[in-house]
């Protein structure tokens, strides 16, 4: 056995960096903090690579399958006799893969931010929180038990909150950060309830026990039915709710587009490549149980498929380039969920699982690249809106080239990374459900369309009147772009089915040309339409949008989901629940207490009138009392 206990440093390094830079605050020069943070992440990156090498290539497989290895474990809190929260490091194919993804993207984003955030007021704060995020995200993926995952899940949420609200003097940023936190918090409530249900029925939090072949989750909690589903299915659904919140699945997606208020590197790291796939990772982590509760998995597939299509439609109508990318992220994550939802378990059956993880991996590269490219664009023209851009390919050659690679990758054009992973998803979906396949197929076409709509609008067409001539970003920003572009180009050639599978057993994949060719075809169609409409700024696109009428308006307004939420929270929760409760408390509950005091007061006021000070009144009372008593005695006497 190889000793993996050093992997705990993957957690400790960012934590130390966070605490150190957080406490020193602005006492150092901002650059020092930035460099400390970047170095820390660089070391982490190396550790992750070493770990991945050791895990995949050195460690012996048992029965041909990759094993789950407990690199480190310690008890953090005892709850009951059976339940205890541990903090540790669990290594298995998906967690190691996630380590690579997170450290790579995070490292690149750190380097990029050194240039992008230069001169910002909260430079040190930014890097400090970035370290906090890296710590939490890494802790999430290497969690040994579901409760550790929940702990880091919450921490990821808060670092996302802090980073979205980085420009805290901007009201829209504050509102967006609040929204992101509360929506995901609501989803986390589901997650927590799911954990409670799960732990009640199985008596453990531990992933190895829960997802092993003799998992208590397969046997317990089956008997009790609620609304036609067993307790275990419900618990999985609740857990999925948590995942759906983090991964911005419909209808808990509303926070993600707004989260683009944060600095662009943050969008790249958190809201594209790493945090938002946590939900996918969660489902993948619990996959054996999901697979056992087939109806739960079916819901995962449909939610994923629907979100994917829904977001793709909205992405076609948006003008803010970061929002287009945000909806694109939603759509791609929907694809991953869909792939998980249609997957079987074990060996080739688990094609969807593999495809999902594969897509997660490649998506991280090209989506981070897209965001960082968008950052470079925004950096140079100081606008987020694509209709204020155009002809930038002359000014930003490196950004242009890398952005094009990313667009091709996400559109699924071979030989770029997106093609391979998306193809596997389509294959897996095709064998499971034809309607879902049709949806995924449509999404593939639309993805190509809206990405190239974006691409042409930004880089082609006429020059706009810029305040100053746009210039290429500094090397700290272009180097990460190039590195990620290389990743986006070649990541597809990694033999994923040999490494990351549902049960650890490697298997062979064969390209199904019957699906791959039409997929490339529809992507080309999408690109073609975009080329026709947007390569030169023409009026055709506007005409089409007018022709679509109400549907376009609805999509442009994100199908009014935000308004629905606003109605529910503002009108119903605030005005119809919270306000009456506040009133009730002040006037009924407190009023009752005041009323008691008041009654006492009044009663005493009335009684004190007897003590009038008038001698004759007392005498009268006395005499009438005596007479009364005398009469009473006489009456009693005679009877």
């Amino acid at each position: 056995m190889i000793d993996f206990s050093y992997t705990i440093w993957i957690l400790l390094i960012p934590l130390i960096v966070f605490v150190g830079t957080g406490l020193t605050g602005n006492r150092f020069k901002p650059n020092v903090t930035g460099i400390i943070g970047t170095t820390g992440l660089g070391i982490n990156f190396l550790l992750a690579i070493i770990t991945a090498y050791k895990y995949f290539f050195v460690l012996d497989k048992v029965g041909g399958a990759f094993q789950k290895v407990l690199g480190f474990n310690m008890t953090w809190l005892h709850l009951t006799d059976k339940l205890h929260i541990d903090i540790g490091v669990l290594l298995d194919p998906i967690s190691v893969m996630m380590l690579i993804v997170i450290t790579t993207v995070s490292f690149m984003v750190h380097i990029y931010s050194l240039g992008y955030m230069k001169g910002e007021k909260g430079f040190a704060r930014f890097f400090s929180i970035l370290s906090l995020f890296s710590f939490s995200m890494l802790g999430l993926v290497i969690a040994t038990n579901i409760f550790q995952m929940y702990i880091f899940w919450e921490l990821v949420g808060v670092s996302s909150f802090l980073l979205i609200g980085f420009y805290y003097e901007k009201d829209s940023a504050v509102a967006a950060s609040k929204k992101a936190f509360i929506v995901t918090r609501f989803a986390d409530l589901g997650f927590l309830i799911g954990i409670l249900l799960l732990s009640y029925n199985t008596g453990t939090f531990d992933f190895i026990t829960l997802t092993g072949p003799n998992s208590p989750a397969f046997t317990s909690g089956q008997g009790i039915m609620f609304l036609g589903m067993s307790t275990m299915t419900w618990s999985m659904l609740f857990i999925f709710m948590g995942g759906a919140g983090k991964s911005a699945m419909f209808p808990l997606h509303i926070w993600l587009p707004d989260a683009m208020e944060g600095p662009t590197p943050v969008s790249a790291l958190i809201h594209a490549a790493t945090m938002v796939v946590a939900g996918v990772y969660l489902v993948a982590r619990m996959f054996p149980i999901f697979h056992h509760e087939q109806s739960g998995l079916e819901i995962v597939a449909w939610v994923g498929g629907f979100t994917s299509l829904f977001a793709a439609v909205i992405a076609c109508t948006q003008y803010d380039i970061k929002r287009v990318l945000a909806y694109s992220t939603m759509s791609q994550i929907g694809m991953m969920m869909l792939a998980l939802g249609v997957s079987g378990y074990g060996g080739e059956e688990g094609l969807g699982y593999m495809a999902s993880m594969f897509h997660l991996f490649t998506h991280a590269f090209f989506k981070a690249l897209l965001f960082l490219g968008a950052g470079a664009i925004i950096h140079s023209v100081h606008s987020n809106y694509m209709n204020e851009m155009g002809g930038l390919r002359k000014y930003l050659p490196i950004t242009h080239a890398t952005f094009l690679i990313a667009c091709l990758a996400i559109a699924g054009i071979p030989p770029f990374a997106g093609f391979f992973s998306k193809d596997e998803i389509l294959v897996a979906t095709f064998h499971h459900n034809k309607i879902l396949f049709a949806m995924a197929y449509l999404v593939a076409g639309m993805t190509a369309f809206y990405m190239f709509r974006l691409y042409y609008n930004v880089f082609w067409g006429k020059d706009q009147h810029y305040h100053h001539t746009p210039h290429e970003a500094p090397a700290t920003m272009t180097v990460p772009l190039i590195v990620l572009a290389i990743g986006s180009t070649f990541a597809g050639f990694i033999p994923f089915s040999k490494l990351v599978t549902s049960d650890g057993m490697p298997f062979e994949t064969h390209t199904e040309w019957g699906i791959a060719i039409p997929a490339v075809f529809i992507a080309l169609v999408g690109i073609g339409i975009a080329t026709v409409l947007y390569m030169r700024k023409s009026e055709t696109s506007k005409k089409i949008s007018i022709a679509l009428g109400g549907f376009y308006t609805a999509a442009f307004n994100k199908f009014y989901i935000d308004q629905v939420y606003l109605f529910i929270t503002k009108k119903i929760l605030f005005n119809l629940v919270s306000r009456p409760i506040a009133w009730f408390d002040r006037h009924i509950v407190d009023g009752a207490m005041n009323q008691i005091a008041f009654v006492t007061n009044v009663a005493s006021d009335k009684i004190k009138g007897f003590q009038s000070g008038q001698l004759q009144q007392y005498a009268l009372a006395f005499v009438s009392g005596v007479i009364g008593l005398a009469l009473l005695f006489i009456y009693l006497w005679t009877n």
Partner: protein, 105 residues
């Protein structure tokens, strides 16, 4: 010497006197008058004592003694009361009982 006078007569007399006294005490506002009413009450009691002594225990004199005792005490009491009344008069130039309500509440 009152052999023919039935006991009722005494009782009626004393009761009438007693209630006149009570009435006066409750109704009159002048402290002196109220004091006089109290004297009436006392005297009505004295009459009762004497009458019952004569009828119930003709050979004894306890009732008589007690009456004398009451008269003596009443005299002392009247002097004390009048002293108080004079003091009150000096303070508030008034002996109306309704003004003497400082000890309420």
């Amino acid at each position: 010497m009152f052999e023919g006078v039935p006991i009722h007569w005494f009782l009626v007399l004393s009761t009438v006197m007693f209630f006149i006294g009570i009435y006066g005490f409750l109704v009159r506002k002048n402290l002196i008058t109220m004091l006089m009413s109290i004297e009436l009450i006392l005297n009505s009691v004295c009459i009762n004592f004497v009458a019952f002594n004569k009828i119930l225990y003709p050979g004894h004199l306890e009732g008589m003694y007690f009456t004398l005792f009451i008269i003596a005490v009443a005299a002392a009491e009247a002097s004390v009361a009048i002293a108080i009344i004079i003091n009150i008069y000096r303070r508030i130039v008034n002996i109306d009982v309704e003004n003497m309500n400082e000890m309420k509440y």
